[in-house]
Symmetry: C2
Subunit: 394 residues, 2 copies
């Protein structure tokens, strides 16, 4: 059976060029970068080069970048590390209502340690409310954390319009840019960001490679205490092969971003157009323009989400209902709730995230097969039958 | 130039069979294990298999094993997670004086949160004092953390003789077994351990793959908050290739341990014998019998440690002065201090950790070249010259 992958935001295949760059570090070059011998020197140099490549992608300096093992770790490191290191200034933190669970649950952890957490709401497109944010900032606020792009609805937040507000009060600004970096241009200086999370797998790099940018001079406590790696800010033996892979992936993303974006946007737009034309009671979610180029998301009415995903999977198409990190928890998404989607409709959530291995014919195959799947499933839905009868009665 | 690697405890080369097992997961099989489609199913199954393989190595059940990204992360997770989850019972923690920095610094972090930390001392071989431990346990003690084997002096602690003492008072016992698992037999039930840290790279598995064993029923808070991975105890997208590699490496270690130990012990013993015969003022560190089979450690008097390491490196031999995690900090080792080695002698610390790629001729090469290096360096040492003159005067 033909299989087509439309779930790139949950897990990207490795770019073959990235794999080639990594392979020597899986075999011949294996020294501990902290070791004071030639084996250690080799890997130390490789890490330095990767750090510079990743820094370039977000217009940072090498010494402002700290490698971690996941976007989740970067977010935990940022939220807990910035809050704890700066608590003498105040213990109030503001996060958006549509942050990833790694931010929201880190905030809950801090709440148990005596911090006060406020959640700033979003509009129907998922755009954070600037006015509400302004009202929430107090003299006690030390940290604001708002994401750059949301992986469930694809919306890109107008961060540049928010940081000014936050910075003029001397408050730190962290940005979860995991879904964004490598897919859209990100410049930490232009955006006036103090700390920024990113992960290699979002731009065809390996799993297990991620980073936290921390602006020079900003105080942060380690999440992982121990050795002197990463300037003492993140202990643990460096995972050299994936760090090298992240560097290579960052370099390729930096070079190829305009080309990739144009290609993915065109595929994505035709997917949106075709599905919107062919399927009734299909509601587009997220912002229509300010969204990730490879991201299309909808809620399908009169449908049970899990059945829809499994039916697509059985016909060879891999899609998701939202965040992979919570997909198997089977709870209604907090993101869809925040943009005002009701619980019933949220059950029909579906996210298509495209990648460079997708071709035009993949979109044609999907937009051909998907409406028939929806039809079949709806015919088994008592709610849909009732709705159609009611409509007929009028 | 011929290069010989004697620093396996800082970083092991990947077993080629482990690499083979990992490769498919670097290319074709890349789905997010949390995803509800066939791509996700494949990686979910691979993780399940790896978990069972790792569990078998320490005689645990799969559901008691949580994958992390490093031994350091496992240690942070254990110490902080167990202390915070059980603080209603008491806020006193006991650790040994020769623990890894990831334990000692995690304890310092907890101290800032109001926990009281006691350090139990060791004898001249690095063996933890049972009597001192007994005296330190109070009604407030909730957690004891003592390592299984020390990577700097090779000593294996008599854990089974300590856990009884701790368990009969209802206190939790964590064991940092990073240097031990895969190299010596470890059975969490026989040892009566509640939580145990391990890392794949210590037994020819990949970097970035580690685990924490947590006995069923023991309460622990996550270190990484976020998604529902690892039963909600360790958030972050699973690093599938390295987890698969850790499983394979665990399986191989389980099968081949007796053979490997015998081989390494024989190489190691001839190294110790030759160097002891050929070099004056060479002091063996750690326990003479109860030690890791691949580990030999010494302090060389009248020598500057960094010069010794660099001289060896220039002649193609990679060794270490102690823990890679602190090697470049250039501070005297807290482990050597704890076993009573003075600051001056500790500067001449040297650790040889052998691996399966080492052959008899490597040992011959080393034991041939090393004494001459020591001679050369000592001739440049004013302290040595003075010592020899004094000796001559007598």
């Amino acid at each position: 059976m033909k299989t087509i992958y439309f779930d790139h935001i949950a897990g990207n295949p490795l770019d073959p060029r990235v794999k080639e760059a990594m392979l020597p570090y899986l075999t011949d070059i294996f020294g501990n970068p902290q070791s004071m011998h030639s084996f250690g020197e080799q890997t130390r140099e490789a890490i330095d080069e990767a750090r510079a490549q990743v820094a370039q992608l977000i217009n940072a300096s090498s010494e402002e970048l700290f490698f971690t093992a996941s976007g989740t770790e970067s977010n935990n490191f940022a939220l807990k590390g910035l809050a704890l290191a700066n608590q003498s200034k105040g213990k109030h933190i503001v996060v958006s209502a549509i942050e990833h669970q790694s931010i929201l649950h880190s905030a809950k952890f801090l709440e148990k340690l005596g911090f006060k957490i406020s959640h700033v709401g979003v509009d129907k497109y998922g755009i954070v409310s600037r006015d509400e944010l302004a009202r929430q900032l107090t003299d006690e606020t030390t940290l604001v954390s708002i994401m750059l792009a949301n992986s469930e609805v694809g919306t890109i937040e107008p961060i540049a319009g928010l940081t000014g507000l936050v910075k003029e009060k001397g408050i730190l600004f962290h940005c979860d840019a995991v879904a964004a970096v490598g897919n859209i241009p990100v410049d930490v200086n232009e955006l006036r960001i103090d700390a920024l999370s990113m992960a290699a797998n979002q731009f065809y790099g390996p799993s297990g490679a991620a980073a936290l940018y921390v602006r020079k001079g900003v105080r942060i406590l380690p999440l992982l205490d121990g050795g002197i790696q990463e300037e003492g800010r993140r202990a643990g033996t460096e995972n050299v092969p994936v760090i090298v892979g992240m560097g290579k992936a960052a370099r390729l993303a930096w070079e190829e971003m305009p080309k990739r974006s144009e290609y993915l946007r065109s595929l994505r737009d035709s997917l949106i157009k075709e599905l919107t034309n062919k399927i009734d009671y299909l509601y587009f979610t997220g912002h229509p323009e300010n969204r990730l180029p490879h991201h299309a998301s909808f809620c399908v009415e009169f449908i049970e989400g899990e059945a829809m995903l499994l039916s697509l999977s059985m016909e060879g198409m891999a899609v998701s209902s939202g965040s992979a990190c919570t997909s198997r928890a089977l709870k209604a998404s907090h993101v869809l709730k925040a943009i005002g989607v009701g619980d019933a409709l949220a059950q029909g959530s579906i996210v298509f995230s495209l990648g460079m291995s997708n071709a035009k014919k993949d979109i044609e195959y999907l937009t051909g097969a998907f409406p028939a799947i929806i039809d079949r499933l709806r015919k088994m839905s008592p709610l849909y039958t009732k709705h159609i009868q009611k409509k007929g009665d009028k």
